[in-house]
């Protein structure tokens, strides 16, 4: 829980110290990494293929070219995703758009491996509004900052899972804001982007992404695997790719909203 992290950082502020140390690590055999994301906006859907690297090797990750990538939906349509000439390892289909309540299947042929995955979209979503409240100072800062809240209504008939991505002045946040409707089924969900530092005059674009349970599980386990003292035993995120690969495949329905904090 992030709140606990806040407490602990307060307590330990005067005592703790961080340093970089040498830790010898084993070399795992290389794995294929799939990142397949299908959106309801043109030119956004992409399947990225790469391989794992050594922990201490910083020469970048090997991209996988020459794979055969197809997506089929439950209405019998097949879409070929072709490698982007400008971006090795990225496979696109510019005419592809997700539809609400469809199931999509991904098939990838790489060398001798066949990888498959399935993902379903949920019903359409509307990001109702973005609101903000000023924060007069905080621990360690004297300036007024703003806490931006996102507000949207959950669809009661479905089990829903969400991710929010804020872009503060076009800068995409790295923080994973995840929500599910286990406690809020059919209610209004209102929560802050608490990890962002937002000042007067900033423009915040927020994207609401509705996803299936498997994708939520993936991102939820991804956000918990740093191995810190307040995280669970780190583990690979729970993948929905079959056939021996890391990563995930998701089909999403989205909505955007923007707010500008007045000066």
């Amino acid at each position: 829980m992030k709140q606990e992290l806040m407490i602990i950082s307060l307590i330990l502020f005067f005592f703790s110290c961080e340093k970089v140390i040498e830790v010898p690590l084993d070399e795992a055999s290389q794995q294929i990494v799939v990142e397949g994301t299908l959106y309801d906006q043109p030119d956004e859907s992409v399947v990225k293929l790469s391989r794992t690297g050594s922990v201490y090797d910083d020469s970048g990750f090997e991209k996988i070219s020459g794979a055969q990538v197809t997506v089929t939906d439950d209405q019998g349509n097949t879409y070929n995703f072709l490698e982007d000439g400008n971006q090795a390892g990225s496979y696109r289909n510019s005419s592809f758009l997700t539809q609400p309540n469809y199931t999509y299947a991904l098939t990838i042929y790489v060398d001798d491996d066949t990888l498959t995955a399935k993902s379903s979209t949920k019903g359409s979503v509307v990001l109702d509004s973005l609101t903000y409240i000023p924060q007069y100072g905080g621990f360690g800062t004297e300036d007024t900052t703003f806490l931006v809240f996102y507000n949207f209504s959950d669809e009661a008939a479905q089990e829903n899972y969400y991710r929010m991505i804020p872009y503060v002045n076009d800068e995409r946040s790295d923080f994973l804001y995840l929500q599910n409707d286990q406690l809020f089924n059919g209610k209004t969900i209102r929560a802050p982007f608490f990890a962002e530092s937002i000042e007067a005059g900033d423009t915040i674009l927020a994207r609401l992404i509705s996803m299936d349970k498997e994708n939520y599980k993936y991102f939820n386990t991804l956000s918990n695997n740093d191995g810190g003292a307040f995280s669970p035993t780190p583990a690979n995120p729970v993948s929905n790719i079959e056939g021996g690969a890391l990563g995930y495949f998701g089909a999403y329905i989205t909505d955007n909203d923007t707010i500008i904090i007045p000066e």
Partner: protein, 788 residues
């Protein structure tokens, strides 16, 4: 019914012979002459009959049955002068004895020749006792004396982490310890995420840790029982004590209700780090809170020579609030009401009513627009225990208890300004009951046996919607149960036996076996102790955890019992051990049982303890070599892997030296092998982030841990010199006001012990680095303690 037949059969094995040739009983209670506190575990021996004796129980009661005759009976307890009593035993005699604390004799140094051979002679194994004196001088973090930190210096007990009050016993998890405060279980013994324990040392009288082979009267946890007893309060006169420390202050008041008949004690403690926040000119900081407090209270009254009542309670709470937007508080409440009754001279009974509650609340939002999540576990417990001092060779203990547990995993409240109502996570109810019998039997002069049986039952009760999960974690069945309807029942039969065979006056061999059951399970998947950890009952999905422990030990005292040496070897087998699926979501999840996996565990090791208990120079050296492993079908391809708490070597050295009657220096040094930990063996990129790739759970080791602490206690003079006007002699008169200064340095040589190691990208270079977080590099502290 079957159970009672079994018990009956068991009892008939412990055939007790009643020889009716004239025997009489000497019984009564043993007390501290200065405060009236009961003396627990004091030894009573008979000079004329070597090898015969008794030990006071937890209420200071003793009973000794001897043939008719004249005897010299010696009463002895650690830290007290031996008292001798000549008795002519021609009838049953009741005698309350008061022992004077040693070292308060004018001008004399400690000269007691007390035989501290209890460790060799008793059949108890894997038991550690701590006196508050041991705790007083040992240097600790922030100078906050803490029983839970001190027990971590004992062999076979390991700290759950830097500065952490949590502990592991013989490979067990930190949730497998039954922590009792005046018989009430304390479900979360940590303040401030484990850096402090909930036990205020000023209110505590006695601590006993059973690492294996706990008596049959205890049950419900797999690995250990930590039995903590609160002081009764001074029944002689009013007294107060307190301390002012760097981060907290405390005050204890005790006084007789009616002299020698009843007394009370009340003790409070509060931290005040947050008061500094008020000095800030930042409004958010001013409105923030961060503190904890505890309150211990106890009263007792002797209504008749045979009846005594005790009421005790604990209340403690941690509070954290950030601005007015966020609040988080958690704490335990326990209450115990007890009634001691002595039936005749040989049968001592106690009836207890016990309440325990742990809860936490997290509140978001301000004014009307609030949203609060809470969770709690609550127990009501009725317990009856009887000790029957049949004769000098048999002491039979038996009893029964019933606990009603209520689990509220998620209670949600919303403020008036929030226009919807949220459903709570469903409550769970269960009933945990047990009957036990245990006998201590002396066979000849050399052999002592303690054997017993505990039969327990755990029943999950309705109402509720109960989900059954398959091994994949998917729901296979949903059944709605009515109020008090039986959902699932488990039975547990735990035999226990321990024996001691005296080789000679100074050495013995002991062996033991015990089986334990644990019906409640702590669901926590983070490394540090967290207030949001929840307890879950055994259910249709979660089976009770079972452990079988075998141990054997050799005990020897040297140099007129000044030096105690002991070594024990143990092997422990565990079944239905719980772990979590990769990335399990355990907080506020109504389907949390689907996130668990079940496996087996084993732990084995050897412990060595060398202890010096008397003289200017005291202390101990403890060493432990051990292994703790687990096996789960879905983890590491169903192979044995080291548990987090698997530490090969664990060494503690504790030294205390009394340089001068007023000055004591102390030092501790600990060393242990780093915990088993999961590190990445590769990395990849996803969602624009570099992510670690793991191939094996707990496949790596943290760096080895070592640390030295030192302390210095300066006592102001306890006596003032007064010249007798008649004789001109100088006499020393005890002062009323006693005070002392305590200085300590935690982590003296500023070792940066790794608390966590994370693999992350350097923000400038983009290179992946192993970043070690170390806490408490060097922490000096000072405290002032007083008593009058």
């Amino acid at each position: 019914m079957k159970l009672f037949l079994l018990l009956g059969a068991f009892l008939s094995f412990t055939v007790v012979s009643f020889s009716q040739d004239e025997k009489y009983t000497l019984s009564g209670s043993l007390k501290d002459a200065s405060t009236g506190e009961d003396l627990i575990g004091a030894r009573i021996t008979v000079v004329e009959l070597p090898g015969t004796g008794a030990i006071t129980n937890e209420y200071g009661f003793y009973s000794l049955t001897l043939p008719k005759g004249t005897y010299t009976v010696k009463f002895r307890s650690l830290g007290f002068q031996i008292t001798e009593l000549k008795v002519e035993l021609t009838e049953d005699i009741k005698k309350t004895i008061e022992l004077k604390p040693e070292g308060r004799v004018l001008g004399k140094v400690d000269v007691t020749a007390e035989k501290l051979d209890q460790n060799v002679k008793s059949a108890e194994m894997g038991v550690d006792k701590l006196s508050m004196k041991d705790i007083e001088n040992i240097p600790v973090l922030f100078g906050e004396r803490d029983p839970l930190k001190t027990i971590q210096l004992l062999p076979g007990v390991k700290s759950a982490g830097e500065g952490n009050a949590g502990f592991y016993v013989r490979g067990g998890g930190s949730d497998q310890n039954l922590i009792l405060l005046d018989e009430a279980p304390v479900y979360n013994a940590s303040h401030l995420l484990g850096f402090f324990s909930v036990f205020n040392s000023d209110a505590i009288k006695d601590i006993k840790l059973y690492k294996g082979g706990a008596p049959a009267s205890f049950g419900g946890r797999l690995s250990s029982v930590l039995d903590i007893k609160m002081k009764e309060g001074n029944s002689k006169k009013f007294s107060a004590s307190g301390g002012i420390g760097l981060i907290s202050s405390k005050l204890t008041l005790e006084a007789p209700i009616v002299k020698d008949k009843g007394s009370f004690i009340i003790s409070g403690r509060r931290t005040y780090a947050d008061l500094f926040l008020k000095l800030s000119n930042n409004p958010a900081a001013q409105n923030s809170t961060l503190y904890f407090y505890d309150l211990n209270a106890k009263a007792n009254y002797r209504i008749s020579p045979k009846d005594r009542l005790f009421i005790s309670g604990y209340f403690g709470r941690d509070n954290f609030g950030f601005s007015d937007q966020f609040g988080f508080d958690w704490g335990n409440t326990t209450a115990t009401a007890r009634w001691n009754h002595i039936y005749g001279d040989k049968l001592f009974g106690n009836m207890s009513f016990i309440f325990s509650n742990y809860n936490y609340k997290i509140k978001f939002g301000a004014n009307d627009e609030t949203f609060q999540i809470g969770s709690q576990i609550q127990d009501f417990n009725i317990k009856k225990d009887l000790d029957w001092y049949i004769n000098e060779n048999h002491t039979l203990s038996f009893g029964a208890n019933v606990i009603h547990h209520t689990f509220k995993p998620g209670e949600i409240e919303t403020g008036a300004g929030i226009d919807f109502v949220l459903n709570d996570v469903e409550e769970r109810y269960s009933l945990e009951s047990a009957v036990y019998v245990s006998n201590e039997q002396k066979i000849g002069k050399r052999l002592t046996l303690v054997y017993g049986l505990r039969a327990s039952n755990f029943t999950q009760l309705g109402p509720g919607k109960i989900f059954t999960f398959n091994t994949e974690g998917n729901i296979t069945d949903t059944t709605e149960y009515g109020r008090l309807e039986n959902v699932q029942t488990y039975w547990g039969l735990s035999p226990r036996i321990s024996s001691s065979f005296l080789l000679d006056e100074h050495s013995s061999i002991k062996a033991g076996y015990s089986r334990t059951f644990q019906y409640l399970h702590l669901i926590s998947n983070s490394t540090a102790s967290s207030p949001t950890d929840v307890w879950l009952p055994s259910s249709v999905n979660i089976k009770p955890q079972i452990a079988d422990q075998y141990s054997i030990g050799y005990f020897r005292n040297f140099l007129d019992d000044q030096l105690e040496f002991s070594t024990e070897i143990y092997y422990k087998d565990m079944q239905n051990v719980i772990d979590y699926k990769d990335g399990a979501e355990v907080t506020l999840n109504p389907l949390v049982e689907g996130e668990l996996i079940y496996g087996i565990g084993r732990a084995y090791g050897a412990e060595v303890l060398l202890k010096k208990r008397r003289g200017k120079f005291t202390g101990w050296l403890s060493y432990n070599i051990s292994r703790t492993e687990k096996k789960f079908e879905k983890v590491n391809e169903n192979t044995w892997f080291p548990a987090k708490q698997d530490r090969t070597h664990d060494v503690s050295v504790v030294l205390m030296y009394k340089i001068h009657p007023q000055l004591t220096v102390s030092g501790t040094w600990v060393y242990y092998t780093g915990n088993a930990v999961t590190f990445p063996s590769g990395k990849y990129i996803i969602d624009g982030q570099v992510v670690n790739y793991y191939t094996e759970r707990n496949g790596y080791r943290m760096p080895n841990y070592h640390r030295a602490d030192v302390g210095l206690t300066f006592d102001h003079k306890k006596f003032k010199e007064v010249t007798d006007p008649d004789s001109g002699e100088t006499k020393r008169v005890p002062k009323k006001w006693h005070s002392s200064w305590n200085l300590s340095v935690y982590n003296l040589y500023a070792r940066e012990n790794a608390y966590s190691i994370t693999f992350q990208e350097n923000e400038q270079t983009g290179e992946t680095e192993a970043v070690q977080l170390a806490l408490f590099k060097i922490v000096p502290s000072i405290s002032y303690n007083f008593k009058f």
